[in-house]
Symmetry: C2
Subunit: 294 residues, 2 copies
């Protein structure tokens, strides 16, 4: 199979964008609120989580129509978390990807409510998806709510905040990232495979793949904050060191961090082989994540 | 049937409290986050929405075990909305029911995340309820997400904020209340009846009952802000007039507001008769809402 990962990503992005646009048609949402929700949804996100979900589904099945709304729901959850993370009481960021953050473009109250709305709508989107059976919806809603809630993504956010200005071990760091970004990545991979009727044993191997992929994503983020190009990243570099943040390079040195990334890559690759999914975009995405420059 | 509404409410409250406590056992939630979530959940709420759900279920069926988790999920959504509404960017309240609001007891970041977590957990609670069928879960998740999201409760919150210092008509006022508080009340009533296998026609009559009940709740709130006893209410009175807020008494005068409440009561009663549910606590709750002094 000949694969072009860049074409795959850009066509996947288009399909997510189209679906996200379509689900706002004919909604009775107050106009200011809807503008705030869609402003952040279409603020240039790379749609990596939906694309991972597509790749996982398509490693085993055809026609990704079935997973378009689930992928869009996932992107909504990711977007809500960014809106709330940017708030003055949290990271207090004025810009994201070169544009004003939601509360700076609108106001704080609207940003809080837009985040709440996106979170709520993500569950509605899955619950009302006419292409899924009740059992499939329940599976997705169970795992998405768990992954994004107080035992998942939000737990990671709290632990990250509490860990600032503290000396963390590599294990602490892995746990925070696993919760804060890994849980949604894991949802993307397992939901895609589940909807493609993959058996439990292979899904477990894919969970391992997702776990290392999430860590690769984070270690590369940390590396780019040291050696990245601010123009490509759309944000200044060096802020982690200035903030004395616990990062891979701060903990292991730059070379150590790169070595750690390679270890994760090897482990992810092995997990993919065990899941019988090496001949798929999941393999390309692994290298894409590890080599990305923005 | 001999009914004691006060005993019914206090035993219902106890069952909600017990269920809410039990669902936090053995959860892997970071301790500070869990404390913030449970602080507001157990801050003296009257549990009116869960009790409405119980009464609706028990008007047609026995043994409310089946609806305990759904009722608790509903209370979580209500609590999350209060936490976010109290934030400095929204109503900026320091106290609620005589206790510090969540962001004053903890901090703003924790309060935002505790609200997010309660919202998310409410969907997880229904999705993982072992007493419900997949079809029942999907029905509940569809209607709860719609009722609480950008076309429901959050829409009401935005419109309420936008309506401040504006002259509103009675119709505007009804629409805002219908969304802001009515949608969750409607969910309570329809979810209870649905889980008791009530047919669609009767559920539609119950929806009418819920609609007027929500308005009664609000008009009485407004009346109490004029003539209520601050000690019983646990908050000062007269703030609506001072804030030039659009309320029933400001719009219709105190006597006009009371007359409007009686009109709503009559309509709710008729709807209840049509649903064949007059011989139930739903009737008592109607008067309980309309006559309450706090």
């Amino acid at each position: 199979m000949l694969r072009d990962i860049n074409a795959y990503i850009s066509s996947g992005k288009q399909q997510v964008d189209d679906t996200l646009k379509s689900v706002f048609e004919n909604k009775a949402i107050p106009s200011n609120l809807q503008q705030s929700m869609t402003y952040s949804l279409f603020a240039g996100g790379k749609r990596l989580r939906p694309i991972l979900l597509f790749a996982s589904y398509e490693a085993f099945a055809k026609d990704k129509n079935k997973v378009l709304k689930t992928a869009s729901a996932l992107e909504m959850i990711h977007t809500y978390s960014l809106i709330h993370d940017d708030l003055p009481a949290m990271d207090d960021d004025d810009y994201r990807r070169g544009s004003l953050t939601n509360h700076r473009k609108f106001d704080e109250a609207t940003a809080i409510l837009a985040g709440d709305s996106l979170l709520t709508y993500s569950f509605e989107l899955i619950a009302t998806d006419s292409l899924l059976s009740p059992e499939e919806k329940v599976y997705l809603l169970q795992s998405l709510s768990k992954a994004s809630g107080a035992e998942g993504m939000v737990a990671g956010q709290i632990l990250d905040t509490e860990g600032e200005n503290k000396e963390l071990t590599l294990k602490d760091l892995e746990q925070i990232h696993e919760l804060k970004t890994g849980e949604l990545i894991s949802f993307a991979i397992t939901a895609g495979a589940y909807l493609a009727n993959v058996d439990k044993e292979r899904i477990n191997h894919l969970k391992d793949y997702a776990y290392y992929l999430g860590l690769i994503f984070q270690v590369q983020d940390d590396i780019l904050d040291v050696v990245g190009d601010p123009d490509k990243l759309g944000k200044p570099v060096g802020s982690d060191e200035a903030n004395e943040k616990s990062t891979y390079p701060n903990l292991l040195g730059l070379e150590g961090a790169k070595k750690q990334r390679d270890i994760y890559e090897e482990k992810a690759k092995t997990a993919l082989e065990k899941a019988n999914a090496s001949d798929s975009y999941l393999l390309d995405l692994l290298y894409f994540f590890g080599q990305r420059d923005h």
